[in-house]
Symmetry: C2
Subunit: 414 residues, 2 copies
């Protein structure tokens, strides 16, 4: 009993039959005595077709108009979902982001939410409507439609949950929750019942993409608890909370992996201020996403600087770097593809020594060579050969006792 925000991704509303299934779930949630607000993504494939059409018109479509175009995807699926609820005998209305009171800044294609005035939603809820809000969008103060960036419907849901002081926020996806590792790689990976925002952020950053990172950051900032769960199964998923207290003793929450990485090393870069800045500015301007950056201690006034990026972006990066490397007086650039990243993530690491050594020892015992290491407070990431990735993930998962741990059954209440 309370106010529940449910978010459904594009696959969950991918065709008429799935939309009807979502509608049935919304109605069941309302009939259980709750006020229900749904946030709906565009039907799977729709956003991509719209982007394709825009690119046929112009290689760089104007951001304002791209937003106006893309926002129609979520508006359409929201209207269809409302129709489906009505067809099942319920009462639903769809609202655009603007009509729902979501006001953003004017930075088109990646707008930030400025504030939400959910007056209309409250009115409709008190008239017993299920309120269906088009995800991913808002309106600038000037009245233009804006979008929140890829995956922005997650952010819509979390932000609405905060603005409405919802009792529950459920993110329905095509996975059952967050797992201790990718179940396609590690057969005995298990669903995590509760995860801290920070852990989820690190898992997401490390390739376990169940949620948009900005949405998780927003949830952390405003203390919005939410649950990631499956739209096809009626089972509890993974709850994200500030810091799950009763699992404090757990050191590592999960192992995440990312394939298709390339490693670039700049050899003998003069160890002078500004060198690294120049290199990464050039890559950033070209919109290349650099991931791990590692610089070794310098010797004889030079240093080796390495970083990883997606292998698809390697050629472009090399083209940009080669003249710069010459200009800066470094010895050269070497690039290696066939790399992957493996990370262990867990808040418990902060207070537990020995995680790094256990991680590295386990890889050593499996005779897996570590190419790069990078650590944060709650994550240790290594770059290894992609060919070793599955073996490494299994060994690490076992070494940290993630498979053996019996998961306590969740009741699904908030």
């Amino acid at each position: 009993m309370g106010l529940i925000v449910q978010k459904y991704g594009g696959t969950s509303v991918g065709d008429a039959a799935r939309i009807r299934r979502v509608a049935a779930r919304l109605l069941a949630t309302q009939r259980a005595g709750n006020d229900v607000v749904a946030v709906i993504s565009a039907m799977a494939g729709v956003t991509d077709s719209l982007i394709k059409l825009a690119r046929e018109i112009s290689p760089e479509p104007s951001a304002r108009e791209l937003d106006a175009l893309l926002a129609t995807g979520e508006q359409g699926s929201s209207a269809l979902t409302a129709m489906a609820v009505n067809a099942l005998g319920g009462k639903a209305v769809s609202l655009t982001g603007a009509a729902a009171g979501i006001v953003t800044d004017s930075v088109h294609t990646k707008a930030k939410i400025a504030h939400i005035t959910p007056r209309r939603i409250h009115e409709l809820l008190s008239d017993d409507y299920i309120v269906i809000v088009a995800g991913f969008q808002g309106q600038s103060a000037e009245g233009a439609t804006t979008t929140l960036g890829r995956g922005g419907s997650d952010l819509t849901a979390i932000a609405l949950a905060a603005a409405l002081k919802a009792d529950d926020c459920q993110i329905f996806t095509d996975v059952e929750g967050v797992f201790t590792c990718d179940p396609r790689v590690v057969a005995d990976a298990s669903k995590i019942d509760e995860i801290a925002y920070d852990e989820l952020l690190e898992m997401a950053g490390a390739g376990a993409k169940v949620m948009q990172s900005r949405a998780v950051e927003f949830a952390k900032k405003f203390g919005v608890d939410f649950e990631v769960r499956s739209s096809s199964k009626d089972e509890p998923g993974t709850k994200a909370t500030p810091a799950p207290a009763r699992l404090e003793d757990l050191v590592v929450r999960g192992v995440s992996l990312e394939r298709n990485q390339a490693k670039v090393t700049i050899r003998d870069l003069p160890d002078k201020p500004g060198c690294a800045g120049k290199l990464f500015s050039a890559l950033g301007t070209a919109n290349l996403s650099v991931d791990m950056i590692v610089q070794n201690a310098s010797s004889a006034g030079t240093t080796d600087l390495s970083f990883t990026l997606y292998k698809d972006e390697l050629e472009r990066a090399k083209e940009l770097l080669e003249p710069l490397v010459e200009e800066l007086g470094a010895k050269g650039v070497t690039a290696t593809t066939g790399m992957a990243k493996l990370s262990v993530v867990g808040i418990g690491m902060r207070s537990h020594a020995g995680v790094a050594s256990r991680f590295f020892s386990c890889l050593g015992e499996a005779a897996i060579n570590i190419e790069l290491i990078s650590t944060s407070e709650i994550k240790i990431a290594v770059v290894i050969a992609e060919a070793d990735l599955e073996r490494a993930a299994q060994a690490t998962h076992t070494a940290f006792g993630l498979a053996r741990r019996a998961m306590p059954a969740e009741t699904g209440s908030a």
Copy 2:
């Protein structure tokens, strides 16, 4: 030099190449020194796919949500058109009907425009933007998206032209204008330079569908002159005005035809008040569009009542009528398919005798049997066998001198 409203139909924006062509025309119109407002329909086929999707969800989708869904079609094509203008180096923004200030009543799927507050359009025009308005839609006072019915983009254009006091309103379509007859049927049919609103209404009602009738009625009510012209050729089209003075001597403006008609006759209907009302209420409730209705003088207390409708709707009409006919004590229902309607239209008829006799004589000379006759002040329509239609149209077109008349060359100025 002035403010020009241009409307482009779905075929004119049917793909990226056509959208770019529309954009080029908008820019050329602006560069000739005009303020430009464009009204854009959904890309050809988009509205039909959205309706199909809605019907997969529900055989009778909720009207409010159907409007929210369908309006996205015009929003998308408007955004794409604005992108195309920007890609060509121009400045354009797209607006939804709501953002353009179009306020309607709350009758979803066939809303009426209540008023237009084009403040935002004026602001953008004074900043040298080409303003692209999504056709077919508005917003109710409660803030819900509404649509104006099929072909509603014509109405958007005419109503905006009235509200903006535009100097010119151009309706771009896939035909070159209004013709004296369908050129596929009558080879020497010629484009009409100027036509009165009333004539256009009668031509439209008689099957020459170049414009939504409601739009023409609106233009008549508010005295908005407009021009129907081709989006693929840069030539003057047909101008619609209150009453083209210099062509006053012309009696018949055009011949229009409508195929696929069925004729229904109720025989020996008791000649009592209320009988016809009962019959047509039943048909109206079932959404069947009855066209010509003819009742002969009664004899012996009974009368024959005939009407035409599309042949596709005949079966449904018969099902509805048969029990009613029995109840009312009529002798029976006969239905004939393979019918067509042929009309001559012209304001000049009002003051010229002899049009009817010339029309009927010409058909008689061609040995074409007339099944029904119906007249209005500026139209005479007959129902004939569809097999005779082309021959009848050619004969009538010639009899009224429509082909021989040399058309004065238009300069294209308003």
